[in-house]
Amino acid sequence: MDLPLLIGIFPQVLLDGLILGFMYALIALGYTMVYGVLEFINFAHSEIFIVGAFVGVEILLGLKGAGWLESLPWPLVLLLLLVAAMAVSGLLAAAVERVAYRPLRSAPRLIPLISAIGVSFFLQDLIRLVESVWRNAFNLVYPTLDGLNHRFELTETLDVSVKSLVVIVAALAMLWVLHMLVNRTKIGTAVRAVAEDQAAASLVGIDVNRIISLTFLIGGAMGGAAGVLFGVQYGLINPYSGFIPGLKAFTAAVLGGIGNIPGAMVGGIVLGLLEAFAASYLGLLTGGAFGAEYKDIFAFSVLILILVFRPKGLLGEIVRERA
């Protein structure tokens, strides 16, 4: 075994894992917020996420077509992408709630779940339809922003690109804003009140429907932002790209303790790190017997172990039990 090599790549793998983890964390917030309020898994969230990525790529391609992409500074372009994607994804999530979930709110738990799976398929094929009519394309490539691709070679095995830093900074900023919103504002108090008891919340004058819409709006906006960051980081998206990251982010939410906002962040980062370390080290440690293809098996085995010993997730116990 090549020990210097194993140690040499450690910081790079750590960084890769963190980037992936923050991305999962941002998506996981959408699952966990909705669960916290409605005790319901919004399976359409993975499509809300990828819609954000498509909004981003369409704006980039539009700017490129108009010849403005080169002349605008990249932070401005990125900000524009994030704001637009957050707006579209957030409104879409709220609209989905209004159309597909609200009429079923008093139905048994499983019914809105089926509805969510249906919306997920519907949105996948809707994106595919729009893209194939509009661009006659299946895979869409994110145009490169040169400023974002600049790399700093720190050591022989560790280098950091601007876009990796951007993902981490943007994710941290959004998590902080969300934290403040939920814990330090009146709206946040209302959201927490609805999560605790809908009937009691409405008795004290909170418009429950509006708060639930707002929850979907915020969760969807986070997902849309994650979509843009995903596209910028990995470069290629198609209408089904959202499915796997969505599933992993849902897992991250459960791992952290579903319904719990800091839990989603911790769960996302843990899952991202597990995945990155498994993919990079499994082949090296086993001499090629197990390769990167086993990363999910490894990551999910660890996940099952954690849940066996902590069924409520890593931070699950902080959430108050609900009747």
């Binding site: 339809l129 280098d159 082949g283 390769g291």
Partner: protein, 399 residues
């Protein structure tokens, strides 16, 4: 594209059969019936660029060669099926195909992993499948009488790649990545085995189904700093991999098999793949002097340059139609058995060279190319430089 909108292929095929049935019976009253040629290739999804080339190549061939059969009183029709590059869809389509008695030849598939199970279905009724693109050895090594291909094989292609890596690139070490499909893993293993024999050190052999995030795979690659990366797979996965590898500062040369041969690779990976080498069983249309007219006609009719394998599909279809013509006896619609038997005797000089089948259904001699990507502009994919060309006979069946 309207075709892309219909996702479950079964819906499409049911519709097609519904539409086809009444019209066929109407025609029988007037003429001698309809002869259908089916194509099976991915018409939707990430590999549609190549799959559609196969369909359009077949369409051109039918229009060009249907004269003889029409004179004999038959109608000739193309029935395109979308296998979505998925084995289960390919097999479901195959079942519909064998149920339609008018279909006498299948042109397809793009992916070996789809062709192998689907051809098991065709074999039930001895329906001929002529493949324009399937390179995995198993396709013909099963010795089925109804399976043919007009292209080369991966056990040769992998070796051609390894030879080029050692002889021309002078690589001393290589890292092999594959996509875990029958095709990708197969050709990667042939490359690896021969490269090791030639003294190239294989620093890693890694399979992945990942489509977007290659960071954790690239990190060990970069640390081991190979001279060469061999990617056994298809362009839609290779594109982001190569792009991310270059972005992370990997300096190795890139090499891969014919699955990388699509203008979409340049669209996805841009300048990262300029200078990349790939082996192919299907040279660009420009290397075949006889194919110029085909390329012009294709461009005029469909408004784009022919993708790789479009010319091979054209030739495969021409062979199929020649066999059907030969099997027409006494003006009656030939049986599937007669057509399949006739293909074995066809000697055809097509736009990609002369094709004649051996006992297994492989072409007696196949061309292998090594090409180099010339430009990051997808429009200029056809200008990729041919660096090497070899004519190699198919290896004999292993006992």
């Amino acid at each position: 594209m309207i075709r892309n909108l219909i996702r479950p292929a079964s819906v499409l095929t049911v519709l097609l059969t519904l539409v086809a049935l009444p019209s066929a019976s109407n025609l029988e009253a007037q003429g001698k019936g309809t002869i259908k040629i089916a194509t099976q290739s991915p018409l939707s999804g990430g590999q549609a660029a190549l799959g559609e080339g196969i369909k359009l190549g077949a369409q051109l061939a039918i229009e060009r060669f249907k004269g003889g059969l029409e004179k004999a009183g038959f109608r000739v029709e193309l029935v395109p099926y979308d296998d979505q590059a998925k084995p289960d869809v390919g097999v479901a389509n195959a079942k519909n195909i064998i149920a339609d008695k008018d279909i006498l030849v299948v042109i397809g598939h793009l992916n070996s992993g789809v062709a192998i199970p689907s051809s098991e279905v065709y074999k039930e009724v001895n329906l001929a499948m002529i493949s324009p693109a399937n390179t995995n050895p198993t396709v013909t090594d099963r010795g089925y009488g109804n399976v043919f291909r007009v292209c080369g094989r991966d056990d040769v292609q992998g070796v051609v790649g390894a030879e080029f890596a050692q002889g021309t690139i002078k690589a001393r070490s290589a890292y092999v990545i594959h996509d875990k499909t029958t095709y990708g893993q197969g050709v990667a293993e042939f490359f690896k085995a021969d490269a090791e024999k030639k003294g190239i050190k294989i620093l890693g052999f890694e399979g992945t189904e990942e489509k977007s995030n290659f960071d954790p795979i690239i990190t060990p690659v970069k640390a081991k700093n190979p001279d060469l990366i061999y990617f056994g797979g298809i362009y839609e996965q290779a594109g982001p991999f190569f792009k991310q590898a270059r972005e992370k500062g990997v300096k190795a040369k890139f090499l891969g098999p014919d699955g990388l041969d699509s203008s979409d690779l340049a669209k996805i990976a841009g300048k990262a793949v300029v200078g990349m080498y790939y082996t192919s069983v299907a040279g660009p249309v420009s290397v075949y002097p006889q194919a110029k007219q085909f390329a012009d006609e294709y461009k005029k009719k469909f408004g784009k340059n022919p993708e790789p394998f479009a010319a091979q599909a054209y030739d495969a279809t021409a062979i199929g139609m020649k066999a059907v013509e030969a099997a027409v006896r006494g003006g009656k619609t030939p049986t599937r058995d007669a057509v399949t038997a006739a293909i074995r005797d066809v000697k055809h000089t097509g736009i990609t060279g002369a094709v004649e089948f051996d006992g297994k259904g492989d072409p007696k001699k196949a061309l292998y190319f090594v090409l180099q990507v010339a430009s990051e502009n997808p429009e200029k994919w056809g200008d990729n430089k041919e660096v090497k060309r070899l004519t190699i006979a198919a290896p004999a069946a292993k006992k």
